[in-house]
Amino acid sequence: MNITLKVWRQKNAAERGALVDYHVAGVVPEMSFLEMLDTLNEQLVAKGEDPIAFDSDCREGICGMCDLMIDGQAHGPDKGATTCQLHMRRYKDGDVVTVEPFRAKSFPIVKDLCVDRSAFDRIQAAGGFVSVNTGNAVDGNAILIPHDKAEKAMDAAACIGCGACVAACPNASAMLFVAAKVSQYALLPQGQPEREQRVLAMRDAMDKEGFGHCTNEYECEAACPKEIKVGNIARLNREYLRATLVSDY
C-alpha cells in the first residue's frame, strides 16, 4: 500500500519547524510503523537527503524510548501499546498520516521528532528511590508483602517513562508519571521510611520542571501504553495531603 506522511521537521530547538509531506510506497501490513519510517529513511539516505530523526530502541514496547504523536494521539491509535508496537495493518492504501513529536514545554524538541525528556530523570533523582545502599538489605522474605499489595505496586511500577501522559494531557501535566512512582513505593513496606519526604520532593521537582496541573481530563490514562490507572493520581494526592499534614519537612 501507499501511505502519505505529514512529518514534523525541525532542525533543532532554536529553529522553527513545519510539516513536510512524504510518500511511502510498498508498505506491507506486517511492517511496524517504525519499520515504515526506517524504509522511508533508507530511501532518503540513498538519495542523499536528511533522514527523519526519531527515537526508538527496544522496539518491543518496554524501554520507553519511542514516542510520536500519530494523528494527534500519543503512540498512535492502538490502546495499551507504544509506537513501536503499532503495525501498518492498522492503515489502508492511500491513508494520510500526520506524525509529530510529543509536545510539552518541559520536553523541548531536540530534532524533528526527538524530544528531551530528561525532566523525568530529574524528578526521579529528587525522590524516586528507596535510600538503601548496596549491602544493607535484610533477607528478601524478612518483610512479608501481601500478594495483592505486591500486584498493585507492580501495576504502578510498570510505567516505562515514555511521557505519553504528558503529551496527551491538555495541561502537559506529569501527574500520572509521578503518581506511578509514588504509588509503587507507598504501597510497599520498603517505601515507608521516606514516604512523606518522597512525595513532597517529587512534587516540587515536577513543578520546577514546568509541568502543568492535573484537571482530571483522564487523557493520560487513555494514552498510557502500560494502561496505568488515574487512581494512582488520587493516591498521589492523598499521599501529598497526608505528607503536608504529618511531615516535619
Binding site: 524501554c63 530528561s118 526521579q124 507492580m154 516505562i160
Partner: protein, 637 residues
C-alpha cells in the same frame, strides 16, 4: 600478552572470601580522590555506578539513550536466579554453581561461577529492599518458578517484566546518587575510543549525540558495561542501539576479546515476517513452563493447528528429552526447532516456525491463571502477529539473543589493559559456552553490586597512578583517530544506507555463523565479510554533518565496527574445532546430533589479541580446569 586469571587458590567455597580479604582497601577519605568512568547504564553499569558512588568514589556515568532507564536490560522478561532454596526443593549455592558450569558446557571458570552463585542471594535481598515488586505468594513470601532447564524453582520474577523492574531498581539507586551529586550523568553519549596512557586505561572519548561534539574524559578507571554484540547478526532480540563499538575499540587498544563465537540463540522468539524486519522479539522462555512445543508429524502439513489431531502432532522436545521435556536448555531447544524446520515440518506462512501451545495449560490451571502468569507476553505476541494465542498456538522460532563472549577479564573483572574493567554481558566470564535462563540478570547485578565495588579498590590502592588530565597527548591522539574515522564515513559519498550494509552482514552471519556452523561455511563468511566491508567504505551514504544530531552517522560507525568484529567471530568459530553450548560445529556432533565437545584440545578460553590493521589477530589460550564439577557430556535425555 599474558592472561593472568588471578583465580584464588584453595577450596572454592572460601576463595571469594579469601580474595576479598586479600584485596587492599582504599581509605574512606581517599576514595573521593579517585574518579571512575562507567560506560553503559544497564544492570551492570547502573548497579556499579551507584555502588561505587555510595562507597565515596567520584563517578561519571555515560549512556547512549536519552535516559539511563532505557538500557536494554529492561527488556529481559523471565526472571533472575538465586540459590535461596525458599521452595525447599533442594537448591543450594553448590547446585546453582554446578548447574551453571554444566549448562555452560564446561567452558566457564569454576571460581567465577561459584562466586556468582554465592552472591546471588544478596542480589534478591538488595532488589527487594529497593522496592522491586517481585511476585509474591498470598502469605507474603516471594514466589519462585522453574526456568530454562533448571530442576529446582530458583527463579524470582516480576510478571514478565523482571528485567525492567530490576533495571528500574538499579536506575533508582543511580538517580539517588545523581541527585546527591555523587554521580555525574551524561546521556545521549556514545563512547568512541579508549584512552590508554603508559599501558593503563585513563579515559574515554565520547560523542555528544545531540550536538555531535567530541568530549574527552579522564579518570582512574574505566568500566565498560556496554552489553553484548548480538546485533552483528542484524536481526536479533537486542535493541537497535546495542552495538560492539565500545568493546571493539577497547580491543583495538589492547584488550583481549574472548570467545566471540559463543553466541546464544533463544528458542522462543516471534518468527520473522519479512525483509522490512528491524528486530526480533523474544517471548520469555518462562512460556515453556506451561506451553508445549510441537510440529505436525507430516511434512509440509498446511492444515490449521486446530485441525491437526493429537496423534498427528509431534511434541518433539518431550519425545526426545523425557526428563526435561519443554524445559531443555536454550541451545538444545533451538537446534531441535531448526531440525524440525529443516525437515520440512515447520509451520506458518514461511515454514520457519514451530508451535508453542497453551491449550493444555489453560485446561489444567485455567484461563485466569495463564493470564496472570503470561498476560503481557500474550498481549505482545498478539500485537505483533495479529494472532490470538489464547485461541491458537503461538508460533515461535529461534533468534540470536545473548552473547557469552566478550572482553577477557580476570577474577577482578579487569581486562588485559590495567584500569579497564568489563562487567555484565560485555565480558566473557561466567556463562561459558551457553548461558542458562535467568542468569544474565544475576550476572549483571552480581558484577555491579557485589564484585566490582570490592575489586576496584584493590586495583586503585595498588596502581600508584600518576595524575592524568585530558591535556595529555594521548587524549588528543585518540580524538584525532575518531575525527579521521568520522570524516571517512561522511566522505565516502556512496549510494547505500548503512542499514543496508548491516543487513548484508547479518545475512552472512546468520547463514554461515548461526545455529549450525561448518568449516566451509565459516571460510565462506571469512571471504565474504571483507568484501562487504570494502564495499561499505566505498559506497556507504552518510548524509548530514559530524557536528549535528546525526543518526545515520551513529549507525554507520556501529556497522563499520560490526563489519570488523564479524570476521573475528567467524574466525573464532572456525578455530574452535568442537561443539560446545551455543557453538555448534556440524562436523562435531554425537550420533544423536548433540554437541560433541573436545575436552582434550579445547577445554580453554580463546582470547584474541589485536595486532594492527590488516594483521591477523593472535589467539591466546587460558586453560580451564574442573576440580569441583565432574566434567561430562551434557545429557538432558
Amino acid at each position: 600478552m599474558k592472561l593472568e586469571s588471578k583465580i584464588p587458590t584453595g577450596p572454592i567455597e572460601k576463595s571469594w572470601d579469601k580474595h576479598r580479604f586479600d584485596l587492599k582497601l582504599v581509605n574512606p577519605a581517599n576514595k573521593r580522590k579517585f574518579k571512575i568512568l562507567v560506560v553503559g547504564t544497564g544492570l551492570a553499569g547502573s548497579s556499579a555506578a551507584a555502588s561505587c558512588a555510595e562507597l565515596g568514589y567520584q563517578v561519571e556515568s555515560f549512556c547512549i539513550q536519552d535516559s539511563p532507564r532505557r538500557a536494554h536490560s529492561i527488556a529481559a522478561q523471565g526472571g533472575i536466579n538465586a540459590a535461596k532454596n525458599y521452595p525447599n526443593d533442594g537448591d543450594s549455592v553448590w547446585r546453582l554453581f554446578y548447574d551453571t558450569v554444566k549448562g555452560g558446557d564446561f567452558r566457564a571458570r569454576e571460581a567465577n561461577v561459584y562466586r556468582l552463585a554465592q552472591v546471588s542471594n544478596a542480589i534478591i535481598d538488595q532488589c527487594v529492599a529497593q522496592g522491586v515488586p517481585f511476585a509474591r505468594e498470598y502469605g507474603g513470601t516471594l514466589s519462585n518458578r522453574s526456568f530454562g532447564g533448571a530442576q529446582v524453582s530458583r527463579t524470582f520474577y516480576a510478571r514478565g517484566q523482571t528485567g525492567q523492574q530490576l533495571l528500574l531498581g538499579a536506575y533508582s539507586a543511580l538517580m539517588r546518587q545523581v541527585g546527591a551529586g555523587a554521580v555525574k550523568l551524561h546521556t545521549r553519549r556514545e563512547m568512541l575510543d579508549l584512552v590508554v596512557i603508559d599501558g593503563v586505561a585513563r579515559g574515554i572519548i565520547t560523542r555528544d549525540l545531540v550536538t555531535g561534539a567530541l568530549e574527552k574524559h579522564a579518570g582512574d578507571a574505566v568500566l565498560l558495561c556496554t552489553g553484548g554484540y548480538s546485533n552483528v547478526f542484524y536481526l536479533s532480540t537486542n535493541a537497535n542501539a546495542c552495538n560492539v563499538t565500545a568493546t571493539w575499540r577497547a580491543y583495538k587498544r589492547g584488550a583481549a576479546f574472548a570467545n566471540p563465537c559463543y553466541t546464544q540463540i533463544h528458542p522462543t522468539c516471534v518468527p520473522v515476517s519479512g525483509e522490512h524486519q528491524s528486530k526480533l522479539t523474544l517471548m520469555s522462555e518462562s512460556l515453556r513452563n506451561d506451553g508445549r512445543v510441537w510440529v505436525p508429524k507430516k511434512k509440509n502439513d498446511a492444515r490449521k493447528a486446530a485441525d491437526i489431531p493429537e496423534d498427528e502432532r509431534d511434541y518433539y522436545l518431550e519425545r526426545k528429552y523425557p526428563a526435561f521435556g519443554n524445559l531443555v536448555p536454550r541451545d538444545i531447544a533451538s537446534r531441535a526447532a531448526k531440525q524440525m524446520t529443516d525437515d520440512g515440518r515447520g509451520v506458518g506462512k514461511t515454514g520457519l516456525s514451530v508451535y508453542l501451545d497453551f491449550k493444555d495449560a489453560i485446561a489444567r490451571i485455567g484461563l485466569d491463571k495463564v493470564k496472570e502468569k503470561y498476560g503481557n507476553l500474550f498481549d505482545m505476541y498478539h500485537h505483533i502477529t495479529d494472532e490470538n494465542p489464547y485461541e491458537q498456538p503461538m508460533r515461535i522460532y529461534p533468534a540470536v539473543h545473548y552473547t557469552m563472549g566478550g572482553l577477557w577479564v580476570d577474577y577482578n573483572l579487569m581486562t588485559t589493559i590495567p584500569g579497564l574493567f568489563c562487567l555484565g554481558e560485555a565480558n566473557f566470564s561466567d556463562h561459558g559456552a551457553n548461558r542458562l535462563g535467568a542468569s544474565a540478570l544475576m550476572q549483571g547485578l552480581a558484577d555491579g553490586y557485589f564484585v566490582l565495588p570490592y575489586t576496584i579498590g584493590g586495583y586503585l590502592t595498588g596502581a600508584k597512578l600518576p595524575k592524568a588530565t585530558t591535556e595529555h597527548k594521548a587524549f588528543a591522539a585518540a580524538e584525532g583517530d575518531v575525527v579521521k574515522r568520522t570524516q571517512a564515513l561522511l566522505g565516502a559519498g556512496g549510494k547505500k544506507a548503512p542499514a543496508a550494509f548491516h543487513r548484508d552482514l547479518g545475512r552472512i552471519m546468520w547463514n554461515n555463523v548461526g545455529m549450525g556452523r561448518n568449516a566451509k561455511g565459516l571460510q565462506e563468511a571469512l571471504s565474504k565479510i571483507p568484501e562487504v566491508r570494502a564495499e561499505f567504505w566505498k559506497n556507504v551514504s552518510v548524509v548530514g554533518e559530524a557536528a549535528d544530531f546525526n543518526q545515520t552517522l551513529e549507525r554507520a560507525g556501529r556497522v563499520a565496527d560490526f563489519l570488523e568484529f564479524g570476521e573475528l567471530l567467524a574466525q573464532d568459530a572456525l578455530t574452535r574445532e568442537e561443539s560446545c553450548g551455543g557453538h555448534f560445529r556440524e562436523e562435531h556432533q554425537t550420533p544423536d546430533g548433540e554437541a560433541k565437545r573436545d575436552d582434550t584440545n579445547f577445554a580453554h578460553v580463546a582470547a584474541w589479541e589485536y595486532k594492527g590493521a590488516g594483521a591477523a589477530p593472535e589467539r591466546h589460550v587460558e586453560p580451564l580446569t574442573f576440580d569441583n564439577v565432574h566434567i561430562a557430556q551434557r545429557n538432558y535425555a
